[in-house]
Subunit: 231 residues, 2 copies
């Protein structure tokens, strides 16, 4: 593992306060592995054996039932999945696959739990991380139940544009069908949602998106800090 990768992981809120030697031991117990795109890393209903850290690339968390499938979350560097399943030693409720060529660190669940038991500072960070995860999911639930497809897209775009510098242009970094599933709609419907937003100054060319009338878009999207902002 490269020094800068270890440093980036070390700086995650989850690991920032872990004692240095405990962190080193945790990392040493892990496996760092590179995967091509489209590889399934974990499967729902499997026992949660590893805490996964996305060091490079991107992962998609998805789930299905009765032959249907949906995307729950997209994880980019440096992010992790799925802490909750690892901690209570149960099965995953979500599957995960790589979206691109990715570098993934796998920390054995047993070591994560042991580290938590041994280091109160880490356990405290785990509490905060889980609380954040819970709240993020509640936001998602509200987003889904309270907005229609075009509104969800509009708010997603506003957020993404802000994260990419807020200069009125942005790039969609996943395939549109993945974005569609993430936003709870079909690819066809996403395409129509983009068409709807044209009216509010959203111009698209492939993965590039431009805002020509931000205030109109915001007025339509009605972003809400209790739905859209991260913690």
């Amino acid at each position: 593992m490269r020094v800068e990768d270890a440093a980036a992981i070390r700086e995650l809120p989850l690991f920032r306060d872990v004692a240095q030697d405990a962190f080193a031991r945790l990392l040493a117990a892990g496996f760092l592995q590179r995967f091509p795109p489209g590889v399934v890393l974990i499967r729902e209903s499997d026992r949660a054996d590893f805490l996964h850290v996305v060091v490079e690339g991107a992962a998609e968390l998805f789930a299905g039932t009765a032959g249907r499938e949906t995307t729950i979350e997209l994880v980019r560097p440096v992010g992790l999945f799925i802490l909750a399943a690892v901690l209570n030693d149960q099965v995953y409720l979500q599957s995960a696959r790589t979206l691109e060529r990715s570098l993934i660190l796998m920390l054995p669940a047993e070591n994560v739990r042991a580290t938590m038991e041994a280091d109160p500072a880490f356990m405290r960070a785990v509490v905060m991380k889980l609380a954040d995860d819970y709240r993020r999911t509640i936001r998602d639930l509200k987003n889904l139940k309270l907005r229609n497809g075009a509104e969800r897209l509009a708010n997603w775009l506003i957020r993404a544009e802000f994260e990419q510098g807020g200069n009125g242009t942005m790039e969609i970094s996943v395939e549109k069908r993945t974005l569609a599933a993430r936003l709870g709609m079909t690819p066809e419907n996403l395409s129509r949602a983009f068409a709807t937003l044209t009216e509010y100054g959203v111009r698209t060319k492939g993965a590039r998106v431009e805002f020509t009338d931000r205030s109109a878009l915001v007025a339509y999207a009605k972003p809400d800090p209790l739905v859209d902002l991260p913690d």
Copy 2:
């Protein structure tokens, strides 16, 4: 507070392992109060000042944006809300109101956090509770994204009937409009979903529901332990 109420709270997984004196102090710092139906206990966007425990009655967690509103969860004795917001000292993402005359214990957030910092066993229980909460919300998200209204109702009924003894009859313990919001639909639509399920042996008379053909209902609902079962 009555002895049996304190005992019931003590037996919650969250509090079971707290040191006796710490638990006594936490309870002593709380306020036990009775509310009539329909009282708003917390409001989203308010600072999370208390961890609420439903000792008697029932509470509804709901949230809104842009003039719309939906129900997120129903909490019955002995259950609590909302641990995550209390722990990271942020605003509530959900509001809560009593559905019936209810007895609510309010534990000051500050005391909950202090107890956690002082008692590793409690912090450990907090971790498990948060992990459960997260997983329950993920299940809900899957339920919502992967099933239509009638399927959600069917699975909800199967679960409720099981919890009420599994003898083929059950009682819906909330108003149907509340159930509708909980399941992510309108009251009219819930009524039509019940009509759809008639075909699979679901008979209703007011709040009473009877299954006359469980296997047909199950075949339609396709219950999935990764969506429907609690942890």
